[in-house]
């Protein structure tokens, strides 16, 4: 018995290094009290719909129609001068709006990053933030091309990775992974103008 008692503390004395332990995934936490969220709430008190912190990254959900106000306040007032990324996520079945438009911005003074999210229903326009950050231009074009999200006030909202006349928006969840027949622009006499072959259709009609 006494021997066992001697053995046990020794095992505890040498804990396993973290790479031999089972990994512990981070937990999402409510971040309404987080410093970065409070800064935004101090400027625009009514925009914070939801705030989550996950693995040290703060995500703020804001109303879609206020997105330009929030972005401008973040850039001019709070110092988020750098828009790192702008993209979208398709939640096909979600009732409160199909898409998330995601803004990810950076502040140089203290190297903090903040993610903004706006929920958008299919076919509803989001106001463009190209007036806030010039870099948003191509990112919004890509989100439009890939998801079919329309950005109002965008100077040049054209498709960017696919071509004019391409049918569908490839990163939508209902776009078939094997692709669609894309002869539309090449055979305008076969396919109706602007239409092109319909996803999942038979082809010629």
């Amino acid at each position: 018995m006494a021997e066992q008692d001697n053995v046990a503390p020794q095992e505890q004395a040498a804990p396993k290094p973290p790479w031999e332990e089972k990994p512990v995934p981070p937990e999402p936490r409510d971040a309404r009290e987080h410093e970065q969220v409070r800064e935004v709430a101090a400027v625009l008190p009514d925009v914070v719909l939801e705030a989550v912190e996950f693995a040290g990254q703060v995500t703020l959900t804001v109303p879609c129609e206020r997105i330009v106000d929030v972005c401008r306040a973040c850039k001019d007032g709070l110092g988020y001068k750098f828009l790192v990324d702008l993209t979208a996520v398709d939640w096909q079945e979600r009732p409160e709006g199909r898409f998330d438009v995601v803004y990810w911005m950076h502040r140089f003074t203290d190297s903090k990053r903040l993610r903004l999210k706006a929920r958008v229903a299919d076919g509803v326009e989001v106001r463009s933030v190209t007036g806030v950050w010039k870099v948003a231009n191509w990112m919004e074009r890509e989100a439009f091309d890939m998801f079919g999200i329309y950005f109002a006030d965008h100077p040049n909202l054209e498709r960017i990775l696919t071509w004019e006349g391409f049918n569908g928006h490839p990163l939508r969840k209902d776009f078939p992974i094997e692709g669609v027949d894309t002869g539309a622009a090449i055979y305008p006499d076969v396919y109706p103008p602007g239409g092109g072959p319909v996803a999942g259709g038979e082809g010629e009609s």
Partner: protein, 374 residues
């Protein structure tokens, strides 16, 4: 446009619109630029991309997490190791995995060798575009040795697929560190050799100084990252700002330029190669023993949530935005492509310059169409 032509005083200086590319070798792949010219002066330029679009982000959604790694190789195909590093880093952060120190150091060695290899391609082709043919032959000799080192490590030379979620798939082969050390020890002399060909070369200076100038404030506004941002004098490097792997344990400098022109970006990249050599030397000296793979589940299943993780790639900030729904496949895997965003600024940089200067600017942005189009 016809009215504009009619009012021009000189009939021989009419405005032309020319499609530059997509098959021109100086556009580094399949970039097409519609340039509006007045004689040889550029009035406006409009990059047209997408010729290499393969739907990588769509493909990601049907792959398992480890299955996405080979697809990242094919984005920026001159820098597969840093692409791998960004993706596995994102998934590891999401799962809370700590990589064993030996694996982290191997990753840093591979990534910095990749940075050197990528800058070597940039230097050779950029100089070739501008008219200096010789550096191309010198630089590609050294790149060959790096590719040999990769081949010895993982069997591939370009599409490496050399990292896994949780660590490294292989340990270093016998004698690899010695060969790698021998290579990096002699590299500074080679870099000095390349610099002798160019840095004080009068033609090189005429072609690059004052070409494609962008101010620091504008560079931030346009979202530039990597050498184009640092060339404008912004001291910003993901390896220092958000250190990943074990970059906080090695010592290196961030070179910056002053004028934000093509020449400064050239100097920044040359210095970056020297700093990469320093990092590799330190990593090889410190390389710890131990396992190269952490204890991760056989089936990679990150929890529900979203994460953005970025590394300092050779071209700029390469990030992955992973949205997981708790299954074995990513629900959405967005790439934050450095080249795509750096290319956007091209019209700003070339307006008012000559067509030949556009070649220099495309070269200095160091774009790879595989990453732009994905």
């Amino acid at each position: 446009m016809s009215t504009l032509q009619a009012t021009r005083p000189f009939p021989d200086s009419e405005e032309m619109e020319i499609s530059f590319g997509p098959q021109h070798p100086a556009t580094h792949g399949v970039l097409r630029v519609m340039v509006k010219l007045d004689g040889e002066r550029i009035i406006d330029a409009k990059p047209i991309i997408g010729y290499l679009h393969r739907g990588t982000e769509k493909i990601f959604e049907r792959e398992t997490y480890n299955g996405t790694i080979p697809h990242t190789d094919r984005m920026d195909y001159t820098a597969a190791a840093t692409n791998n590093q960004a993706l596995v880093g994102a998934v590891e952060k999401m799962m809370g995995v700590t990589v064993p120190p030996r694996a982290a150091y191997i990753r840093m060695v591979l990534a910095e060798l990749q940075r050197i290899a990528s800058h070597i391609i940039w230097l050779g082709t950029h100089a070739l575009d501008i008219g200096a043919q010789t550096p191309f032959f010198y630089t590609f000799q050294e790149r060959e040795i790096i590719l040999d080192l990769y081949e010895e490590y993982c069997g591939a030379r370009l599409t490496l697929n050399c990292m896994r979620v949780g660590g490294q798939p292989f340990n270093l082969p016998e004698g690899w560190t010695d060969r790698c050390r021998a290579f990096v020890d002699q590299l500074p002399a080679r870099i000095a050799e390349w610099e002798r060909l160019l840095t004080n070369n009068r033609i090189w200076k005429l072609r690059t100084i004052g070409v494609g100038v962008i101010s620091a404030a504008n560079a931030v506004e346009w979202g530039l990252t990597g050498p184009p941002l640092r060339g404008s004098g912004v001291k910003w490097d993901i390896r220092k700002v958000f250190p990943y792997d074990r970059y906080d344990e090695v010592d290196f400098e961030i070179p910056i330029g002053a004028n934000g022109d093509t020449y400064d970006r050239y100097l920044v990249r040359m210095e970056e190669m020297r700093q990469s050599v320093r990092i590799v030397q330190q990593c090889l000296a410190k390389l710890p023993d131990g396992p190269v793979m952490a204890k991760v589940p056989k089936v990679i299943k990150p929890p529900k949530g979203e994460i953005y993780f970025s590394v300092e790639g050779p071209k700029g900030e390469l990030g992955f935005y992973v949205v997981s729904d708790g299954s074995t496949n990513p629900y959405r895997l967005r790439v934050r492509p450095a080249c795509f965003i750096n290319l956007q600024v091209l019209p700003e940089l070339v307006r008012g310059h000559l067509v030949a200067d556009m070649i220099a600017v495309i070269g200095t942005l160091d774009i790879v169409l595989g990453e732009i189009d994905r």
